[in-house]
Subunit: 61 residues, 6 copies
């Protein structure tokens, strides 16, 4: 605990993911007073065909 899930569009580089999990972990540690070892992060890559706002797929915008 905490367990974090981040859903985002596919295409981010490994370097961006590295920075993402480092910075998000730090943000959580500073805010809710927990040790870094407790923070687990799951990233989900999503295709633009699989996300919609206002009834329209992201790939159609």
């Amino acid at each position: 605990m905490p367990i974090v899930q981040i859903e985002m569009f596919e295409g981010r580089t490994l370097e961006q993911k590295r920075m993402l999990v480092e910075k998000v972990t730090q943000a959580i540690v500073e805010s809710v007073n927990t040790a870094p070892e407790n923070v687990k992060i799951v990233i989900r890559d999503m295709s633009k065909e699989n996300y919609a706002i206002a009834g329209k797929l992201a790939c159609d915008k």
Copy 2:
């Protein structure tokens, strides 16, 4: 808000997904009194190897 996740077997066409997000968004807007812009939908395609009912994988049925 609302955030919707729809988990279903892979293999649906883009046209089916288009209809799905349009109709589901409309269903939510009519039922809970929110604007279409507030409705976000995430679709997750799943392989039949990754779903089970009653202890049996869907790919084995």
Copy 3:
């Protein structure tokens, strides 16, 4: 399958939830060619203290 999760602010009436699951189920059945019995919906009620956009909690807006 499909399994649907709908995350929304708490405070909807039972009548709204009834309409919501009926209409969303119908929308899915019409779009992706499945039987109503296959559609499972989970609703999650969320407090405004537990949702944020652009770094601001909904309860602070």
Copy 4:
């Protein structure tokens, strides 16, 4: 109900998944007094690039 999601690293064989859903279903049936038909399990395969503990991606360890 119950609906179970199991997030794990990709690379498990079909045979392992078969055993997994069978054993987990049985464990739930024995513990919370429900019929096997009610237990649905979703498996999510995850790349080591998409999981982090303590701010470090699993692929970097």
Copy 5:
């Protein structure tokens, strides 16, 4: 890893939850060759007002 989520109707006793997490953890360890320490389980209690099959809320059945 693995991370498990179990969504079920509220009302289970602490004793049932204790048995549930013990047995499910064991089932996973035996099936996919991982150490017990790696298995994290999140239980979500759900009201019958918040679950539907075939377009009908569980509380209406």
Copy 6:
């Protein structure tokens, strides 16, 4: 997009949640090159009766 879910033990103050969503949003914006308006965060408060590691509930440790 991105959509973030943070599962953590209940008991955090409103002030901690405020800081959490602000800092996590900033961490994501800096890492994956997106606008703050695109970042949605859902917090889930969890009881110690509903989380387990290594087959043991957190409330029993």
